[in-house]
């Protein structure tokens, strides 16, 4: 399994996209830093970290979809999937290596965002709290959900663009419809999984989740059931498809 993971990392880091992603995270964090510092009442370290991570995490969500979609999409594009599938490793292992690689790649970027944000934060006044750090950590849950969803779309559609489009659209539409339903039909809204993927909401906007009368454990379990279902579907399709032209 380690050698399969090494392959996935090699393929990821040898493209220009990781550099673009890390550059964008750094750029957005620096931009936030100057905006926070240049206000009439300069923000403190906590305010900066809050805005900087929020902005960078938005980009992380997009790059996570792109990188995950390309894990299988690029194999189809370059016709290299057949070579992977001819290997003595089982298809289950190959798929699992791609999933773990996608999760680790997201975590690497997340740690980078944290390191750069907190590095700049230490030059500002004010103290940083554990609660804020916990909220940032909890927001990673939406990235994990997105990886499982994107991987599932990747085995259904051949084109990476379509996979990215579908994932973004599913995310966007469900959140929008869910947002509307919360106001009018909260009992229905609570069954829209996209409203549960970011667990930090329970601490940042608790009223939002109280409207739906749900707890953080309900959300965590509901998301977990979904990602297991996504993976079972993905594994079944990956095992049974011939991927022949």
């Amino acid at each position: 399994m380690r050698s399969l993971l090494a392959n996935e990392f090699m393929k990821w880091r040898r493209t220009i996209k990781p550099l673009i992603a890390l550059g964008m995270y750094t750029g957005i964090i620096i931009l936030t830093y100057f905006i926070v510092r240049s206000g009439n009442e300069p923000g403190d370290a906590a305010t900066f970290v809050n805005y900087a991570t929020m902005a960078a995490m938005t980009f992380l969500g997009i790059f996570t979809i792109v990188f995950t979609a390309e894990m299988i999409g690029n194999e189809l594009k370059f016709d290299t999937l057949k070579h992977l599938l001819m290997s003595p490793y089982s298809r289950d292992r190959i798929l699992l290596s791609k999933l773990i690689a996608a999760l680790l790649i997201m975590l690497v970027q997340f740690v980078f965002i944290l390191a750069v944000s907190y590095g700049f934060a230490f030059t500002l006044d004010g103290s940083l709290t554990f609660e804020q750090f916990r909220n940032i950590l909890l927001s990673v849950s939406s990235g994990v959900f997105v990886i499982f969803l994107t991987l599932m779309f990747s085995v259904v559609f051949k084109s990476t663009g379509v996979v990215i489009g579908f994932t973004v659209l599913a995310n966007f539409l469900s959140t929008m419809i869910g947002g509307l339903l919360i106001t009018w039909k909260p009992a229905i809204a609570k069954w829209i999984v996209f409203l549960h993927t970011d667990l930090s909401v329970y601490y940042q906007s608790p009223g939002f989740m109280e409207t739906m009368d749900v707890t953080i454990w309900f959300s965590a379990l509901y998301v977990l059931i979904h990602i297991i279902a996504f993976y079972v579907i993905t594994a079944f399709m990956f095992r049974s498809k011939t991927f022949a032209e």
Binding site: S3, L4, A6, N7, M10, K11, R14, T15, N74, F78, D79, T80, K82, H83, L84, L85, M86, S87, P88, Y89, S90, T242, F243, A244
Partner: protein, 312 residues
């Protein structure tokens, strides 16, 4: 070494392969010929574990590809359809990627392997800068990384120049003779196949039509070709018919005819023709080319041949 036994593949309601059976022994180069859509690639996909067979079995060194996947596939090196690589990685990185796909593979001297396929100075170039011929060579290097017992090459001469083809032929012969690798080659280049293979199978419409070239058996059929005086042709045909009353004599032109008999029958036929004062200009064996045999066996209903072969 490689045994394909009664393999049947059904896709939807279509029988893509019907009872395909053949065997490739160690040290043998086995050709796999067939027109487009005949079932060559499907057979190769089943052998390499990319697709399951509906019935039948494929074993490599005694291991079943379907039930003992790891043992079977770790003994196969293959290029299926075309050599595909990650264009943004170098040749060396692509080989490292392939090494990582073989469980338990010990360190391989990639420079030596690169030299073996003539890419020693190009391994650190990105594959997107490679020509098709270089990709073919890299594909062969990748297929040989783990010293496989069976090598499967789908159209391996695509993109190679004549010198490259000759090198490849020599190298494959060396692999078969000195390392005992069983090699299965699928190709449309019939002249190449004729030169490189020990035996070959012709597949059409998902069925093996013929397997030629066993121990002591010629790869292609031979016939007696006789050229006589035009004026004597009719009488010559009568003499031949009387001499060999159990075979079909085919008149090829106004002065030539062929008889599917062995070389040993030439003196007998010649004596009869000369006894009847027939002017014989030429008599000898004509070896049916692989192309002629291929065309004969894969002729479509209605007598037309597959278009691709006549264009080559």
């Amino acid at each position: 070494m490689l045994t394909v036994q009664n393999v049947h593949k059904k896709m939807g309601k279509t029988n893509v392969l019907t009872n395909v059976s053949f065997e490739v022994v160690p040290g043998e180069i086995f050709g796999f010929l067939g027109p487009n859509g005949a079932g060559k690639t499907t057979t190769i996909r089943i052998i390499t574990g990319l697709m399951p067979a509906t019935h039948g079995s494929v074993t490599v060194d005694g291991f079943d590809v379907a039930t003992e996947r790891q043992e079977a596939l770790s003994r196969i090196g293959a290029i299926v359809e075309n050599p595909a690589f990650y264009p943004y990685l170098t040749g060396r990185e692509n080989l490292i990627h392939a090494m990582n796909l073989i469980p338990g593979l010990k360190k391989v001297d990639l420079n030596a392997l690169g030299a073996l396929v003539g890419l020693e100075t190009k391994l650190d170039m990105k594959v997107k800068q490679y020509s098709l011929g270089m990709k073919q060579r890299l594909g062969i290097a990748r297929a040989l990384l783990h010293n496989p017992k069976v090598l499967i090459l789908d159209e391996p001469t695509n993109g190679l120049d004549p010198a490259g083809i000759a090198d490849l032929r020599q190298y494959l012969r060396h692999l078969a003779d000195h390392r005992g690798i069983a090699i299965l080659i699928s190709s449309h280049l019939l002249s190449e196949m004729e030169m490189i293979t020990d035996r070959f199978a012709i597949i059409d419409h998902g069925q093996i039509k013929s397997v030629q070239g066993g121990e002591g058996e010629p790869k292609t059929e031979s016939v007696i070709l006789c050229k006589v005086d035009r004026a004597d042709m009719s009488e010559a045909l009568d003499v031949a018919a009387l001499t060999f009353d159990d075979v079909k004599i085919v008149q090829q032109s106004a002065e030539t005819f062929i008889i599917p008999r062995p070389e040993a029958d030439i003196p007998h036929l010649l004596k009869h023709l000369v006894d009847r004062d027939i002017g014989v200009y030429q008599i000898g064996m004509k070896h049916e080319t692989l192309e002629e045999q291929f065309l004969k066996l894969t002729k479509k209903e209605g007598g037309t041949n597959h278009a691709f072969i006549t264009s080559q």
